[in-house]
Chain length 327, copies 2
């Protein structure tokens, strides 16, 4: 059987999410914002990875469908609360919940999404539940820890490369890794094969995040759909700045340090100066090289997964697309 | 075997919670506040109910211990987020997390407590996990819904008796009900017996909340440990005001309505006037009667639970103590 395509998976996910009609539930003060967030769309990468992880081992992806949606719902929950913490006004082109409603509404409907994620996760064969719950809980704690590290880093001038990599692993990569692992287990993969998928997903997730950091500075604005340079303006700790701090000497190091200490007041001027240092140090090329390295590592891990190469085609296509994306 | 006493149960719970040394985990920005909240103490009613629910059916309460702590941890999570939403400065005599640290810290460490609750819940015999997870998820959503109704009611002048009872059932009573139900299932009770414990806990929880509302107006301040009248001053919808609105006519009704519309500006004056209406309408006696009715209903439900009367002694004592409490 040919594996399900990206579009097949996306349709399954979107139809299932729409079928919940979350925004129709009562009390509407709670479920309207929850449904709004789930309806904002996005790429649905995580649930698609879960379906593809299952589909590698089984033609029947039904047992992975609700756990897949649990991954998306948990991701939505983290976005709602992160947006409050980051004072973000816009998410996927629409106002964030705390902006459109209120911070209290965003706290409580975020909590509801978190609990719904667990409700969906449990809707699969009972014998799978204890193990996938254990995996999910570990991931969920790591996502919170990653967010805490990210916030801790905002007030620190020096963050090591290892610290940065751990932060993005926890905050971003484990969600993709666990989507694949849980999907595989729902397809009755062995623990060992599911673990290989986890590693594939983690490397892919790390590459994905560095690509994100890179696009924020070097994307084509017309394609990217929003202004570039946000991370530099807001002093975010990204792969680019961590690497640049590692390599810069003399004046260049001083520019980065004063930018991070908030000493270059005008945001555009800060962006111009930091971007110049990145250009001089060839940071974009180094980032692309690291993305390729992680991508290759992911791919070589996937090679070790013991199913026919044909079954892997769609997953490979998706992974390659994620790394090549321009927005 | 004699059933475990309240103090036996409390010791088991406190020792287990202390053994986690939550506040030692990293990142400390996340786990210190989480451990702080869990360490604030309180009566530990919910986990004790879970242990007693188990102990009714089994001498071995070990399988119920981590699920019991899950109930307490989930309760702590809701307190952390409720305190942000209510702008509460103090909880159990100590500063709330958002006051002592920051709202962002309270959001994220609250999230962490919610996820830890699920982690603890899963730490029991695997064959119990799917069913107790299902029960827990339903309860967790209802708690969020109850909190939303409570917030919705703040901006409404008219709330029906039925709406109020549903709100306190969801926000408060189901946590006690589910603690007993899950405890019973961990003691290998049948679904039917566990359901009886759920009903017992729900009625007890409703009585508990009305007692709470009553104490806020009629407690002896010296015993109560804090100022009375807070609910009236803050326009909270309580059993007393809902009942008073139902019974009041003429001037008395006008006083209640203008108090709720915020037309009596001085809080002390508002308290004095509303309290006078309550006194005239004998609201305290009616509340006590309703508490007794619910308590009797709970007790008659407990009578139907098919274990020896001796096994029920500690649970009966606890229930009676909850209703007689003065703070």
């Amino acid at each position: 059987m040919t594996p399900l395509s990206f579009q097949d998976c996306k349709t399954l996910i979107e139809e299932k999410i729409a079928s919940f009609a979350l925004d129709q539930r009562l009390p509407s003060g709670l479920y309207e914002p929850a449904g709004y967030q789930m309806g904002l769309g996005g790429k649905r990468i995580r649930p698609i990875l879960a379906l593809m992880g299952c589909n590698l081992f089984s033609d029947d992806v039904e047992p992975a469908l609700m756990p897949a949606i649990a991954m998306e719902t948990f991701h939505s929950f983290t976005l709602v609360h992160d947006d409050i913490m980051d004072h973000a006004l816009v998410r996927r082109g629409s106002p964030t919940i705390h902006t459109r409603w209120s911070p209290n509404t965003a706290i409580l409907s975020g909590d509801t999404l978190c609990i719904l994620a667990y409700e969906y996760l449990a809707q699969t064969s009972p014998e799978l539940v204890p193990r996938i719950l254990e995996i999910f809980n570990r991931m969920a704690l790591q996502v919170c820890e990653g967010q805490q590290y990210d916030m801790d880093f905002e007030t620190r001038c020096e963050v090591s490369y290892a610290e940065y990599m751990k932060m993005i692993e926890y905050k971003t990569a484990v969600l993709q890794a666990v989507s694949l692992q849980i999907g595989a287990l729902c397809g009755h993969a062995s623990e060992e094969e599911a673990e290989k998928l986890y590693c594939f997903g983690r490397n892919l997730g790390l590459a994905f995040q560095i690509q994100d950091d890179l696009l924020d500075v070097y994307a084509d604005e017309a394609v990217f759909g929003k202004a570039i340079g946000g991370d530099i303006r807001e002093n975010k700790k990204t792969w680019l700045v961590i690497k640049a701090l590692e390599l810069a000497r003399g004046t260049r190091l001083k520019i980065l340090q004063s930018a991070l200490r908030g000493e270059i007041e005008h945001p555009d001027e800060k962006y111009r100066q930091v971007r110049e240092v990145y250009d001089d140090l060839n940071i974009a090329t180094l980032a692309e090289r690291e993305i390729s390295r992680l991508f290759e590592q992911a791919m070589s891990g996937l090679k070790g997964v013991e199913v026919t190469s044909e079954r892997k085609t769609e997953l490979k296509k998706l992974a390659a697309g994620l790394i090549r994306r321009k927005k």
